[in-house]
Symmetry: C3
């Protein structure tokens, strides 16, 4: 399904191509250039959002995906990026984040569309900046733009920070509650669902299935990433409720897929490297939780981005063979 001549051909504006571009955009959040993955991800988002009683999150995701993808076409950015879903993956995350954290006002929806559109050219901007080191901006356009708007929401009555954490100075964890085994298992699957800011283990299963249809190794490493981070967070005494809701898992899931399957060919050495990357992501996640506490904003997927960059920039070579064929992520994105 990936990298066939059809998918890389320039988009001609047909409704089918546009739909495929959208679905691939959903899939690319976890590096999968695959329409069925995207469809299962969207299904998982809708299931989880309605299960949580926050159906607007799913519609926001769809709106952000469409806005970001259309923007790439309107700006005349390289069509091959659009065909591979690389215009939309930041936008769908913006669309998940806005209704999750902000009240549903006209201003919020307008800002969602603008912010999602913004990510498309901010991605081009960031990729241009990073091109000399052959690293990708990953989901950082989503993180950067959404941080701006979440912070702005506190200064703008028409876009109220209804569901955001109260800003407070970071305080140490002083006591740990119990964490039953069932919660651990749910937290493991929620580590996947929280990639799209969804708190539902069923959604996690949808996402795992979506990865499976595209790349079994990606599914495996997503599962490993969430499990390893959960165990690490548990061992180091992180807040139990955050573990149970998957908040220590979503960034390591992405780091694991990136380091083990996208940017290196899977070998024993690259697998160990990916495990170290998961561990680093865990501590960066904990650190960023403290860093952003005074601002009352979520870390989003910043820990994944930072950790992955720190593990790619040394340019360690683990085998002689070329990298896996994720041409869309391997340095041609300028």
């Amino acid at each position: 399904m990936k990298n066939t001549t059809t998918t890389v051909a320039p988009m001609r504006g047909g409704i089918y191509e546009f739909g495929a571009s959208l679905l691939r955009g959903a899939g690319q959040v976890m590096f999968q250039n695959n329409v069925w993955t995207g469809l299962l991800f969207l299904a998982g988002i809708f299931w989880g959002a309605y299960e949580q009683g926050t159906g607007l999150v799913a519609w926001g995701a769809l709106l952000g995906l469409v806005a970001a993808t259309l923007t790439g076409r309107l700006l005349g950015l390289p069509a091959s990026d659009g065909a591979q879903g690389l215009w939309g993956f930041n936008g769908i995350l913006v669309g998940c984040a806005f209704p999750t954290f902000l009240g549903s006002t006209a201003g919020m929806w307008l800002a969602l569309v603008f912010c999602a559109a913004l990510t498309t050219w901010v991605r081009t901007a960031f990729n241009n900046v990073m091109a000399p080191w052959r690293v990708n901006s990953l989901t950082f356009p989503f993180v950067f733009c959404t941080w701006c708007f979440l912070l702005a929401a506190r200064a703008m009555h028409g876009m109220p920070p209804a569901h955001m954490a109260t800003p407070e100075l970071p305080a140490a964890v002083t006591a740990l509650g119990r964490l039953p085994f069932g919660d651990l298992v749910e937290g493991w699957l929620k580590g996947l669902s929280q990639v799209f800011l969804i708190d539902s283990w069923v959604t996690g299963l949808f996402f795992l299935l979506g990865l499976l249809v595209a790349d079994r190794k990606a599914a495996l490493w997503a599962a490993i990433g969430s499990a390893a981070a959960l165990l690490g967070a548990w061992a180091f005494g992180a807040e139990r409720s955050a573990i149970a809701t998957g908040l220590y898992g979503f960034s390591p899931v992405l780091t694991a897929i990136a380091l083990a399957t996208v940017f290196h060919r899977p070998t024993l050495r690259s697998s160990l490297w990916a495990l170290l990357g998961i561990a680093a992501t865990l501590f960066i996640q904990a650190g960023m939780n403290s860093l952003t506490a005074p601002l009352g904003i979520a870390t989003l997927t910043a820990p994944f981005c930072v950790a992955t960059w720190l593990f790619l920039l040394p340019r360690l070579q683990f085998d002689e063979q070329p990298k896996p064929d994720h041409s869309d992520w391997n340095g041609r994105q300028a």
Copy 2:
């Protein structure tokens, strides 16, 4: 008046050349390499500072301008930069900021001179860093150095943070007061005056006139930038007093001039791009207000810098013709 052989010729240390270099430095804050613009800007600063009862701000501006410009000469930096006023524009802003936020002590004035001088080589440093992407550091040397000293003022009794905001965790805007039409008009002109941290609509008129004598399109876009940002801030329910004092306008004014007249030739498409840039600057301004609240420092012109970079780095081409002849800003600053 711009880019004649005389102005680009190496400075020979004459008093006339030095005076011209200073005036152009004032003008370059809004991208105008023009002595009359600089003269009108300085006149506006003096008028506004004394109208506000803070005459020291104007003298600080003059001192910072002189210190930064002399520094360029002492360090032997490329003389053509000095002749175009590119040594002084960060320094004059430092000179406006210090007496605005800090108490008038001997330490403050010493620090002002040092900080203004620092901006001259920090500009070289930042421009060197950004050269690979052919973007300019804009007013960020002023922002970065001034932030350092404003933060330092809280730790240094000899440079007291007398007029700085009290650090506080960001709180949401919960109620909006009335904003009479007259205040909106004043706020529109104050959007211009606040570029130099002056709260005076008369100063805004001086600045508009200063732009008019150099480049009518720059004047038009400054007016559009302030108006559009003011309306946007009003529509999204930003704090009314901040709107009325032009605090949502000054960064969009600079973004508008930069995107519509300096870095792109004015066309329909680049005008739409500039409008998007104004909108982005507005949200970044609101976001940075929350970001800097716990530190009790002003955003200065950082929102302008960030937004302009985000809109230049994708390197979108809007027409086939070369860029406007702002050679001083178009990538030769390394």
Copy 3:
């Protein structure tokens, strides 16, 4: 002792070579590729740590040094870096910082080893990023990684922030106590000892001696850097207790050595430049004290890194001769 053929030859895994690599690593914190310097530095650390009643800091330093140096070998990074001690200098600082700020739990020691190891490839990552501008990441890998873990400690019960400052919004210095002359002299020597987070003037003497055996000019400039920063902090009314414990001195010490002896040949002009660098470091230190207050983390040596970059990036030339022969720091570190 420096740069002989022997030291640059690839490490062959012998115990002697490994020990030399460790000692040079200790010395490289102050840019000295010299085993005797490293030995005296380690002696000073052990003396000071036990004098303070925090002997674990010294054992942490040793552990961090070993972990970081071994990591370079395990990853197969260029052996010449290891032979010159460039793998270990960040790790030894991590090892000093962890027991200084965190409670001694199993989790803390595990995290120390991981963080120290991390600095070795983060240094490669940062040096790769900075290579186009021919600047070095200096001690920033230590700063960045340690910040992550110190922030993480507030979110992790198993790695308690036992000795960290309480997060608080920055408040202005409102009154200054007395500062007896004897405290000034001690503070001057503690400016050196605090480079390794040790609060002991005896350790400062050890460090001065360590510099003397390697490079008299480095010792001179370390002494000048600490003295000048102390006087500046005193004149600008910085907090007296911070001055007396050397907390305004350690970053300027490093800036002074770097600018006056490592990256420029000592001349009158480069000496003036180094003095300006010391002054800038002082204000950046004061500013970062306010910046990090809401997070309750120390600035570590970040002010040194930032100031040194700002003074190297303009690439001013002070004489026609080549740079001093610190080949390990002069841009070949990519």
